[in-house]
């Protein structure tokens, strides 16, 4: 996957180990990468952030808005993992992502983080296998069923399946 071209072999191995689980345990994945993941009170327009942390083995902590829905929190964690894997040199004092996943980083970098999030939460082989268990039909109803199984939002899964 070209998205992960610049990711270290060690991190890639950790990612691959978690991708065959349904749903992907994104919190455990982050922790194994050496990141801390905390639920905290954030302003209503902020979904999450990644900041330096002296206590995290990898040197960064992901803070997630504790009051958002589980599916949303999972996407936020995966998105912040994307920033860690691809943009850690740009994080500086911290990057906060608003509800539209916009931050002080560039749109291009946000798009990349979203792509990483989709790849981590909705791995192609897993999505195809789940599609087959539902008869292989790419319908909105099937998409919603798979979204529930993978604990992602319906819109995210529909985008992944090219339905919208």
């Amino acid at each position: 996957m070209h998205l992960f071209n610049n990711v270290s072999a060690g991190d890639k191995a950790i990612i691959e180990k978690h991708l065959d689980k349904v749903p992907v345990p994104v919190g455990a994945l982050a922790r194994e990468l050496g990141l801390e993941v905390k639920l905290i009170l954030l302003p209503p327009d902020i979904s999450g952030e990644i900041r330096p942390s002296p206590t995290a083995p990898a040197g960064f902590r992901i803070n997630v808005n504790r009051h958002e829905k589980k599916e949303r929190q999972r996407f936020t964690i995966a998105h912040e993992i994307g920033h860690y894997l691809l943009h850690r040199s740009l994080i500086g004092d911290g990057v906060s992502d608003n509800v539209l996943y916009r931050s002080t980083l560039s749109n291009q970098q946000e798009v990349e983080a979203n792509k990483v999030a989709a790849a981590l939460l909705m791995p192609r082989p897993t999505v195809e296998a789940l599609l087959n268990t539902h008869g292989g039909l790419r319908s909105k109803e099937v998409s919603d069923l798979i979204a529930e199984q993978l604990e992602v939002s319906s819109p995210a899964m529909r985008i992944r399946l090219g339905l919208q």
Partner: protein
């Protein structure tokens, strides 16, 4: 680490409805760890099978135990298998084998022994099954669904351990205090047999009519005074506070859209902000709640955050009566958990759990 059955301070009865499950799911980990709620089981939403009811609770309370009983208020028949599976739970055949098998479908479910319509031998057999399987259990005595008192006491008297709780559920009423005699009689009888029995005293007084309040009103909870009165009478009993998390039984809700309302639970009362029109916008009601003297400004819990968002029109906002109920129930649980612990559960960062 979830509280042990011996250290319970609050046992909410949380019905298996969308608002309740959302409210439960949105509690912080610390709050989830401080309670073992009692969930009356019924078919979940449009699920085909009843086991999905357990899965829904497990999703709201990951890796945490919960008590289950049969929801005797739920009467909405359907063509789905879940309805016939639900009906089958009531069968007393083989000492409620269907119910016991259902309880075994979740490693986190602590079953209530089925006492409604049961004789002492059937109650005793269920207790023996729980003991053989090293399961804790609950005996839920409901005022609305009378049991054979002598049978329950005979079976209860033969218990030789403390791995259980009793739940005295006075049910829903706008005059909960009138159930004191009923509850007191049970506490005396139970304590005569086991003076260390853990007894939850539960009821619900959440109003069913809001017209009298107009566009603003307050109402005192009757559940705490009910519990406190019984504690005063039975000062050596091990009583635990319980309520219905500010809800009413099925069938008490009027159909169709009503007057929009935002409810704000505070320590021992509810504050209602009500629209003057059917289907009114929730934003001004949330703004009234936020601007009122009852608002403490602390957004440490999801329900208040939800109301705050709605008032500001930011992030996720309340757009339905069901969502307003979820906010109320979540705040109510937070308030009562804090009272039970004697300390407000504040906003501390928590480790994320998958």
């Amino acid at each position: 680490m979830q509280v042990s059955i011996n250290d319970l301070k609050y046992v909410p009865t949380v019905f298996l409805r969308t608002a309740e499950m959302q409210a439960l799911e949105q509690l912080s980990n610390a709050e989830k760890d401080s309670i073992i709620p009692l969930i009356p089981i019924k078919p979940w939403a449009n699920s085909n099978h009843l086991v999905n009811s357990l899965r829904r609770v497990e999703r709201a309370l990951p890796n945490r135990r919960f008590f289950i009983d049969i929801d005797r208020y739920y009467l909405r028949a359907s063509e789905r298998p879940a309805w016939s599976e639900f009906q089958a739970l009531r069968s007393s055949t083989d000492n409620f084998l269907n119910w016991r098998n259902f309880a075994d479908e979740s490693e986190f479910a602590i079953p209530c022994i089925q006492i409604f319509g049961s004789q002492a031998d059937v109650i005793g057999a269920q207790i023996a099954w729980a003991d053989q399987n090293n399961k804790p259990f609950a005996l839920r005595i409901e005022q609305r669904f009378p049991c054979d008192r002598a049978a329950v006491l005979a079976a209860f008297g033969s218990i030789e351990h403390s791995n259980y709780i009793i739940v005295l559920d006075a049910g829903w009423s706008r005059d909960v205090l009138s159930s004191q005699l009923w509850a007191s009689g049970w506490i005396t009888a139970l304590n005569n047999l086991h003076n260390d029995a853990k007894i939850v005293v539960s009821a619900s007084s959440f109003p069913d009519q809001f017209m009298p309040y107009g566009q603003f009103g307050t109402e005192n909870l009757q559940e705490r005074p009910f519990y406190n009165a019984l504690r005063g009478t039975h000062n050596t009993a091990r009583l635990i506070y319980g309520d219905w998390a500010s809800s009413r039984p099925h069938g008490n809700d009027s159909g169709g859209p009503g007057y929009s309302r935002v409810d704000l639970p505070v320590a021992n009362s509810w504050v209602f902000f009500r629209s003057d029109a059917i289907g009114g916008d929730f934003q001004p009601l949330a703004a009234q709640a936020r601007n009122s003297a009852y608002w403490d400004g602390d957004l440490n819990n999801w329900g208040k955050y939800f109301i705050d968002n709605t008032a500001s029109g930011t992030g996720f906002t309340i757009n339905s009566a069901q969502q307003a109920a979820a906010a109320r129930i979540n705040i109510h649980l937070n308030q009562q958990i804090s009272q039970g612990l004697g300390v407000a559960i504040g906003d501390v960062p928590e480790d994320y759990e998958d």
